[in-house]
Symmetry: C3
Subunit: 324 residues, 3 copies
């Protein structure tokens, strides 16, 4: 068997399991396409019939309001049919029954699987086994990958900063356990950002071999200094314990993004967060809602990016099939 | 901040959190619009594309088959996209995270929030914070408000009785804890019904200051005498205990609407119930299914009323935006 | 009251609760119609607007990914609106409240109820009470009936074998508790298959009075010999205990369909299974995935058969109503 590739024989995107390996041009292509789907608030969203006849199955291991709704609306606004199925695929990997579930849905003419799972490898495993016309999109894979999040983060930065090459981007918090940080690292590396910083207590830093080229800071103040983009990450209570931080209040005191700390960044810095926000833990409430925050725009961009990805993989499939 | 208003600056309906404050004309306008959506059984339901491009999010704190399905079908038959999300918003009011959920969905271009919650105030709180183009509709708020139920009750009475001014309407049962009764009181007061009676054991009566103008009866027989409309309310076991009524059987004996008691009302009286019915508790099974019962018509009217409300708030929004 | 019939006064199919009583012509008509909906993998599925304006409610007593998704996609690809409601109707039969649920949905203009329930009789009970224009389709009734499964099984055999009269069909496993086996027996009897065998340990055989005409084998080897179609059934752990088989491994040793055993059938035999498969229990993994297996085609046929049934009952309704 050939090594797994997200691309079809013509080199076009077929699956999106990871941003690792995507070129700057491919990423820019998706982001530019996403921009076509953006509308001002209160203006009716972009819609098309590009995916009429296409069936998208959302297979989520948890009732994720945010990402599931984003994929669902993206698919529906392109005219697709959507099945929402709450299922823990990874628990079925044993005995291969994950494939029975997938093959059953594939036999019902599901064209795109959107998969979120807490265990690594499920998305690629599925992608390696589906028929040629079927695509698999990751909606979050363990601590490893959240590619549409990486794309929406890049789109958001492009909107506010106009480019990437001269930027200092600081990713702050529990980088070690964060799929958001890994996808951000991949997309920012491909886009050759000026300086990518990872800022975390030692215990929440990724392994030394991971994320080559990123500059590491175990001081929040040093890491944030003169940054153009401050990306905060969601922290979980069990991870604080791992970092020997007794409770959320202590985490906020040591690692929370406050107005005072934000002043160390560039005056026109933007503040990002993948959501849902733990207010006054990794980020102060007034910063999350403040003038530097672009958190809501990230959500808007999420729908647009998912529309772009869905439209792209279906367009590429039709090209493979000689339909265009 | 201005005091909360359900109306936009042009005086047009934007939110529907309560019927309190709606004029007779506004209520009649909604009811008349609803009548356009009614079809005979077996005839395909009224449909339009008025809400094409609009996204409606149903945020329910419980898996409510009845009301959720009614709103969902209303929205879909107008061409809207619908997201169903089971979520207890009130438990999120702390730390403001209810707003994070709402802002996230708003950033995905959700246009209408339909909210059912067991705690008071959630709907208004959301309505006070959403963007100008967004509307909030209550699908049931604690014991306080269920405005589309009030409208469908009024529509049902109009269908069978042709008007309101000469009617005696008796609302029977656990008035104290009933959002249905409160919305009924508001709508019937605005429509100036001839006589509005509330009929309940003392412990299930609302506070004396509530529902001015309504005539109170703590005898079922006296309260029902010569009534044109007999509206029974759903009772819950814990409320019977509060009223020192030992069990459902005793409740039925003392407060159940039986055929014998219904004979005290006018011969052509109609019997209403918001559903789901506790058969042989607040209402005898043969009365619920009998010739006076209009309970199923109420359900049909519910979809039509919700279509009218959805269509109205979106039409008003388009007018605000200068789109019409 | 007339005895229950699935047919309307004109003799056209209105409900589908059981295959018992359907003629060969009626079954062939549905199967032929289903074939029109089949497309090659990767080709966009057949779609129409035949059911535009029609509302289908899926009432399932469990979150059944497979059959629920199949009915949902079938309805949507015909243009219907679909409500998914997880509800245990049978637990509501007491106090008649199952009918309150049904009447409520009927009053919202639900046209077709698709019902799966673990207790017998629910589908017929509902069908006996709905209005003339409403249809009820079984999606699995206790151990008794799974009519669309029977139809998709027949369609699959027709595709691979071209007919029924000369075939030896062996149904293997827990026939006693299987609704799939009962619907298969009914459809194969109507289609007059050459020889229908039921192959099971004595404890999992149906009562002697059941399934007249079928040939019984309590030896797997004898039952499978020279079969053209080998249909394996899903077995449940508690049923193995009933058959005094200690565990799944022993079940597989005694009753599992292995490659060695399959060699006893005709060389071009097909292997069927209703899914989900218990791999290496009732069927060896390499047989389920092997060249004789048509299990995935059965799933594909399931959507097509459900489209045919939905289209048929709605077409018949329109004819009853004089609309065509």
């Amino acid at each position: 068997m050939l090594p797994f590739s997200q691309f079809d024989p013509a080199g076009q995107l077929r699956h999106l399991i990871t941003l690792d390996g995507l070129t700057s041009d491919q990423i820019r292509g998706l982001i530019e396409r996403a921009q076509h789907f953006l509308r001002a608030p209160g203006v009716e969203p972009a819609r098309s019939h590009e995916l009429a006849g296409i069936t998208v199955a959302n297979l989520f291991n948890e009732p994720s309001t945010r990402t599931r709704s984003s994929f669902e609306l993206a698919a529906r606004r392109l005219g697709a049919d959507v099945l929402n199925i709450e299922i823990q695929l990874s628990s079925r990997v044993k005995g291969e029954t994950v494939l029975d579930t997938i093959y059953t849905l594939q036999s019902m003419a599901v064209d795109v699987f959107v998969i979120r799972d807490a265990e690594p490898g499920v998305g690629q495993f599925v992608a390696e086994h589906v028929q040629d016309h079927v695509s698999v999109l990751s909606a979050g894979e363990a601590h490893l990958s959240h590619p549409t999040q990486g794309l929406l983060d890049a789109l958001t930065i492009l909107q506010y900063k106009g480019g990437f090459r001269d930027l200092v981007i600081a990713v702050i918090g529990d980088v070690r356990h964060s799929r958001v940080a890994r996808s951000a690292y991949q997309v920012f590396s491909a886009l050759e950002v000026g300086e990518l910083r990872i800022v975390a207590p030692d215990a929440l830093m990724p392994e030394p071999s991971e994320m080559p080229g990123a500059v590491r800071f175990n001081s929040l103040e040093a890491g944030i200094a003169h940054a153009d983009v401050v990306m905060t990450l969601r922290v979980q209570k069990e991870r604080m314990a791992e970092a020997a931080i007794p409770d959320p209040h202590d985490y906020h005191a040591a690692w929370g993004l406050t107005r005072a700390r934000l002043k160390l960044a560039r005056p026109e810095a933007i503040v990002m967060h993948p959501g849902p926000v733990n207010r006054d833990i990794e980020i102060a409430s007034d910063v999350a809602d403040g003038p530097h925050s672009v958190i809501r725009q990230q959500v808007t961009n999420g729908v647009a990016v998912r529309m772009a990805v869905l439209e792209t993989v279906i367009a590429n499939r039709r090209q493979r099939q000689g339909l265009r």
